[in-house]
Structures are given as structure tokens and as C-alpha cells.
């Protein structure tokens, strides 16, 4: 790709970017959110046309206008949201649209042979007859990769492939990627996780603000170099200093709380100003616990106490009026109404506050939201911009703003920085620390261990829905947390 440019209203999404991938190499594409990675890939995929620039494949200038063109030219993209049909089985998904058939009748045997040969090439073992919806994320991703290979893709773009995977699954993904590489497939690997890039990539390209910053061999960089290139400034302190909780009486106590479909209770306490981190592998029950605590799911038993008073929580509105805020993990599915403006999203949980004589006072809304927006440095052309048009980091800040509009006593964060760039991450960490310093009790679940270790005053390790071990900040290390999370020590 040479000299690619693309302009959206008010934004130079890409400005003369050139980018190449060789056969049999893994080329990492990194940059903050809004740097232009997604746009560049969308152009390559035929999802959106470039304003300027050319694309060549094997030395031939090509014109990619539609996703079909991309497929025909051997380019496959694996998005974060998979393009699979949940109700069809693995085999059917892999050959979707190219089923071997005789006069329209599917040749089941040929189909299975075709699928098996692809899986064999990848060294994967997937249940052919299992419906996609019953599979774990990692297996769905493997199905996507197999699908890409079965259309004879010579170039596979993976957008944040490790975001939803456990460390173990990431290792397996790398095995598959190395296999593809040795088969001569070119791979573009987009990720926010700098450490991974050094494990897997041969070359690295850094984008910033729609411009190419640098391309070079992975071996010639250190992690700090890449981060510096991404943000354009050295990022010294990744995590802020955390406040030391002063009071000893808990602000928030969860006692024998039973998550739906579990037959045991979970107990923990959080003091004012404390950040209680929840670590654990995917499926260890962090999210279910937070959902039950915050009334998103109705717990099957147990109590939640705030400042010594037992709360009656039958749904999110009870939790909110008690002063409990829940920042959910999936901002697009649970946090935001994408078709509403920033202003409307932020005031949604506390709209009653702005009602005067039956009417919602938009001017008051704007004043209040503008103040928060300035504080959180939400980058948006206006508060009337639709949430859908913001970058991931800014969307996350809008979700945070929703819960900062009123002073919460307890805030539960589930994956507060998933899929957002380094700069926005640091801002969110600082905000969490500031909230804690103000006396808020914070519960923070995350699958990124460094985040939990860096951002918690105490850490609860979860496995099988239970908190199997609680560490103080000083005694928690990556190793002993993982040991409890995986169950290699008896709890």
C-alpha cells in the first residue's frame, strides 16, 4: 500500500501512509486508538475506498472496491467481532458460501474432507459438528483463521486477536500464526499489547495520528521505544501512585453473595479509598460476580452492605440510587447507546436530575456534561456527536462520565481499559486513583494481570466463581497470582 490517504469529516484518518507485508512474515501494526490502523485495514479489506494512494499485490496494482475483491485477491481480515454464523457448525462456517455441491445439493463428504485438510494444515483440532455459539472465543477465532485459509488467503490481517484470550490460548494462537508464516502467508498483526508483538512479529510499523511514524525490524526495538513512538512522548510512570486507605471500617461489604446458578456464596470487603482488584482467568467468574454485586443480575442469595447498612438490590436502578456504579466490560453492547449523543448517554442514569416541569432541561444537561467532558478530556467535536463516532478510548470515557455525574460511593469496573490505547489507559488509571483518593470504594476486575497488580491495593484471585486467595499489594506478584488462578497451588 502506497501513499494511502483518507479523510473523514474533520479528521485526516490517514495521511499518505505506505505499508508493505512480505510473504511469510508477521508484520505488527501498532498505534493508539485513532492512529489509523483500522482505517488502513478497512481500505485493504475493501470496506471503504481510499481518497488517494495505490495498493499492489505481488507487484500488480490492484483495485479493491468491495470485500469480494479482497477475497478474490487472497486478502482475509479477522475482525475483533467475528464474522461467523452462530447457529451453524464449525465445518459449515469454514466453507460458507463455497460449499462443495452437486446441482445445489451440498456434498457433505467433500465438505468434511476440505475442512479437515485445512485444519490439518493449521494443526488445529476443532469439533466439526459443534455449533459456533457453543464454542469458546478461542475456538471461534480458530474457526475464523481456518476460514481465511480455506479461501486461499495469502495475506491475513488480525485485529486485536488476543484481546479476549487467556495467556494459554494466546500461546496456541502464536503456534498457529507461526505455522501460517512458514506456509508463506503474510500476516498483519494489530495489537495493543506491546509484549506480544515482540514475541511474534518480524517487523513493526507504528502509526500515529494517521501518519506513518516508523517501520523497522522488531529486533531493533525495545518495548519502551515502541510506546514512545506510539504516543510521541516518553511514558515513564505507567501506573499512578495509589492512595493508602486510611479508614479500617469497610465501606462496602459483600457477604455470602450467590451468583445465579452457583450454589455457594462469595464474601469480600472494600474500605473507602481502597481499590480491590479481581484477577483470574477467562471464565473464572469475575464478571458474573460484579454483575450480581451491582444488580445487573439478581443474586440468588447473600447480602450487600454499604456503610454498614444492608441494601435491597433488585435491579440496576436500586444499585444506582444506593450509590453503586457499574462500568461494564463491553461498552458497545452494555455501556452506550451508540445512536445517541455524548450528552444523552452521559445523563441517562441520572436524567431525573435534569427534569424541570416534566421537561428535560438540555441546557443544564450540556453544562453538566461539558464540565465532565473537560475533566475527563473526552475528545469529541461536540457533545451532540453520536457515541458511535468516537474512538474506543473516548467512548470509554463517556461511559465513565455516566457514572461520575453523581457521586458514587462504590464503583465496580469490569475491564476498564479493554481495547483502548496506551494514552487513554494512563488517563483512566489516574482517574481511578483519584476517585479512590476521594474515598470511593473501588472494585476492579481485569484480565490484564499487570493492570490488576499495578492498580490494586488488594487483590482477590478468582477461580471457579470463588475468591480463592486475597493478596495485599506488597505480596502479590505475577507468579503467585497465576498460581492461584490456575489452581497449581491448593487454596
Amino acid at each position: 500500500m502506497r501513499g494511502i490517504s483518507k479523510t473523514y469529516p474533520g479528521v485526516h484518518a490517514l495521511d499518505g501512509v505506505s505499508f508493505d507485508v512480505r510473504a511469510g512474515e508477521v508484520h505488527a501494526l501498532v498505534g493508539e486508538n485513532g492512529a489509523g490502523k483500522s482505517t488502513l485495514m478497512k481500505i485493504l479489506a475493501g470496506a471503504t475506498p481510499p481518497d488517494a494512494g495505490t495498493i499492489e499485490i505481488r507487484g500488480q496494482a490492484v483495485n479493491i472496491r468491495t470485500p469480494r475483491d479482497a477475497e478474490r485477491l487472497g486478502v482475509a481480515i479477522i475482525y475483533q467481532e467475528f464474522n461467523l454464523v452462530p447457529g451453524l457448525d464449525v465445518a459449515a462456517n469454514i466453507v460458507l458460501g463455497r460449499e462443495p455441491n452437486r446441482a445445489g445439493v451440498i456434498d457433505a463428504r467433500a465438505l468434511d474432507e476440505q475442512v479437515l485438510s485445512v485444519l490439518k494444515r493449521l494443526g488445529l483440532d476443532l469439533p466439526l459438528r459443534a455449533e459456533i455459539r457453543t464454542l469458546a472465543v478461542a475456538q471461534q477465532q480458530q474457526t475464523e483463521i481456518a476460514k481465511a485459509l480455506s479461501v486461499n488467503a495469502r495475506l491475513i490481517v488480525m485485529d486485536e486477536p488476543s484481546a479476549a484470550l487467556t495467556p494459554d490460548e494466546v500461546d496456541k494462537l502464536f503456534v498457529v500464526i507461526r505455522k501460517l508464516r512458514s506456509d508463506g502467508v503474510g500476516i498483519v498483526y494489530i495489537s495493543h499489547r506491546i509484549d506480544e508483538i515482540f514475541t511474534i512479529a518480524d517487523r513493526i510499523t507504528v502509526l500515529r495520528d494517521g501518519k506513518l511514524v516508523e517501520t523497522g525490524a522488531a529486533s531493533s526495538y525495545k518495548a519502551d521505544d515502541v510506546i514512545r513512538l506510539m504516543v510521541g512522548r516518553p511514558l515513564s510512570a505507567h501506573f499512578p501512585t495509589l492512595p493508602a486507605p486510611t479508614q479500617t471500617t469497610p465501606r462496602f461489604a459483600v457477604r455470602e453473595l450467590r451468583v445465579p446458578r452457583r450454589d455457594f456464596g462469595v464474601t469480600f470487603e472494600v474500605r473507602p479509598g481502597e481499590i480491590f482488584g479481581l484477577a483470574g482467568l477467562v471464565g473464572s467468574g469475575r464478571t458474573s460476580l460484579l454483575r450480581a454485586v451491582c444488580g445487573a443480575d439478581v443474586p440468588a442469595g447473600g447480602t450487600v452492605e454499604l456503610d454498614g447498612v444492608t441494601l435491597r438490590i433488585r435491579g440496576p436502578s436500586d444499585a444506582i440510587s444506593a450509590g453503586l456504579a457499574f462500568v461494564t466490560e463491553d461498552r458497545k453492547a452494555q455501556g452506550l447507546v451508540l445512536g445517541m449523543s455524548v450528552r444523552e448517554n452521559v445523563t441517562l442514569p441520572h436524567l431525573a436530575r435534569f427534569v424541570r416541569l416534566l421537561m428535560v432541561d438540555r441546557r443544564e444537561e450540556t453544562t453538566a456534561v461539558q464540565k465532565l467532558s473537560d475533566e475527563l478530556r473526552i475528545r469529541t467535536p461536540s457533545l451532540e456527536q453520536l457515541a458511535r463516532n468516537l474512538s474506543g478510548g473516548n467512548q470509554q470515557k463517556v461511559v465513565l462520565a455516566k457514572w461520575l455525574l453523581e457521586t458514587a460511593k462504590v464503583i465496580c469496573f469490569d475491564e476498564p481499559t479493554r481495547g483502548i490505547d496506551v494514552g487513554a489507559k494512563a488517563e483512566i488509571y489516574e482517574l481511578i486513583a483519584r476517585l479512590a483518593a476521594g474515598g470511593v470504594a473501588i472494585v476492579m476486575a481485569s484480565s490484564e494481570l499487570p493492570e490488576v497488580l499495578g492498580m490494586s491495593t488488594r487483590i482477590g484471585v478468582m477461580r471457579g466463581g470463588r475468591i480463592v486467595k486475597v493478596f495485599d499489594r506488597a505480596e502479590a506478584t505475577q507468579e503467585n497470582v497465576i498460581r492461584y488462578a490456575t489452581g497449581t497451588v491448593a487454596a
Binding site: 435491579g315 452494555q334 452506550l336 451508540l338 445517541m340 441517562l348 416534566l358
Partner: protein, 333 residues
Amino acid sequence: MNLTPAARQTLLRAGGFIVGLVVLLVVLNAWTHGDFLRPFNVSNVLKQIAVYAVLAVGQTFVIITAGIDLSVGSLIALTGVLMAGVMVGEPIAAVGLLVAIGVGVGAGGVAGAVNGLPVVRFNLPPFITTLAMMLMARGLAFMYSGGRPIEIDNAAFNAIGGGTLFPGLGHLIGLPGIPAPVLVMLAVVIAGHFVLTRTRFGRYVYAIGGNEEAARLSGINVAGVKMGVYIISGALAGLASLLLAGRLSTGIPQSGSGYELQSIAAVVVGGTSLMGGRGSIVGTFVGALLIGVLNNLMNLLNVQSYAQEVVLGAVILIAVLLDELRKRYFASR
């Protein structure tokens, strides 16, 4: 002028729309040799769309929450015969009128609640619950009336559907007055627009249609709001029925057939998305107006009635298609 891009875009859209509308009206007027814009004809068109527009306002609420209400046509029949029935033999006209309106709008609201309850309680698709209500209400209308029209001799009731108000204002433009159903329609449109754009309930309607889970987690009483939109739709069906039965001085068990589709057509032509989360009452009113104008025009031009349906169907398709293309055009800029 110092405008945000969003505001400029809105102005551009609105301006383009108004210019287009004026040009269209002038052309149509010339085509019909000036008949089209005569006050009598304009008043006639508005009178004809009143029933549809009132239904469509309720339908807009439901559709913005990503629901649908197929029962409103049958509810017109059911509430119509109920209203006619309760007025039979009532000696005091004013009492009869008030009881009838209460029964009509109330029964519509109750039917709406019956539509909504299985939707919020058991998560049944609204298509199904309102389809069931469509059949049941029609059947009940026939059962109650014995299959025969019920005459209405309450002058006040009939005046709401067929009478006029403000004769002075009417004389200025050479009419006996402003038709009462048109005033009712305008009141409903304005009230609907106000509720949807200015109140908390209206904001919640959009939020639920846009992302129900996010709305729920924001503490919104999703079940209550959804119940609300079905009750509004049912109650407005009762009100629309009042206009129709009053105009005909009769409660007719066959009436209102197909009106649910007319109201849905007005909503989608008006730019409201069937996927929910987006739309407006003003758009719906314009949609109802467009359909009404088209019908009127074809009558003025003596288009055969069978052909009228073909044209109407095609125009609905084209209108929604143009709206989609317009959206893409603005999205790509």
C-alpha cells in the same frame, strides 16, 4: 455563521427538504389546475389523514423501542362499537359523550397493556402479541355488535369526528370552519412530539430502542417504558376510533381494517427505523401527509382506485429507499 458541522448538516437537510416540498406543492398545484391547494381540498386532505396520523403517532412510540403494533386497526373497530354501544339509550348527551370517550380510550389502553405485558414479562416478540390482539379485538368487535353497525345519535360525539370549529377563522379562507378531527390530530402530533423530544419518558424510549441492555444497566425501568408505549398506542387507537366513528355516526365492526399497515407506512416513510432507536413524530406526520396527499392527488387526477394502491405501494418503497440513500450520502461526508 459560526455553526458546528452537525448543526450545519441539520440546517442543510431541513432547508433542502422545505425547498423540495414547496417546489413539489407548486408543481402539483399547477398539474391539478389549482384544485390541489384550494382551502377546501387542503382541509379535506387533513381530514382524511387525521385517523391515520393519530394511529401513526402511537405507532412511532412503539417502533422507536424496536417494537411494532399490528393491533391498532382492529382496536379501532372494537373501541368504535364499544363507544357506540355505551351511548345507546343514554338520555344525557354530555354524560354519554364522556363515558364513550372514557370507554374508547380506556379500552384501547387496556388492550395496549395486554399487548405489552407478555412482551416485557416473557420477552415474547411484539409482532406476535399484537397479531394475536389484532385477531381477538376484531372478533370481539363482531361479538359485541352482533356483526351489525351501531348507530350513534350523540350530536357532540359526531361533531368531534365530522364537525368544524372556529368558523370565523374558516370564513377567512372560505370554509365553514376548521375540521375538529384536524385539530385533534394536530394536538396529538404536538403532544406526541413534545413527549418524545422533551420528557424523560421520551428519552428512555429512544435509549431502549437504541440499546436495551445499556438502558437497563443505566437504571431505566425498561418494562415500564415499554408498557407505556403499548398503552399509548392502544389509547390513541381509541382516540382515532372516536374520530372515525364520529365522522360516520356509527360504530362499525368492520372498520379500521388495514389501518395498522397504513400507520406503519406513515412511520417508515417518515424516516423512523424499524430497528428502533431513531425516528420522530414530525417525520411520521410528514409521512402521513405524503400518503394523504398522494391519495388525494390520484383522486383529483381520476386515477383508477386499483391503480392507486399500486402507486401507493411503489411510493412507499421509493420514499424509504430515498431516505436510505440520503442517509448514506450524509454518512459518507
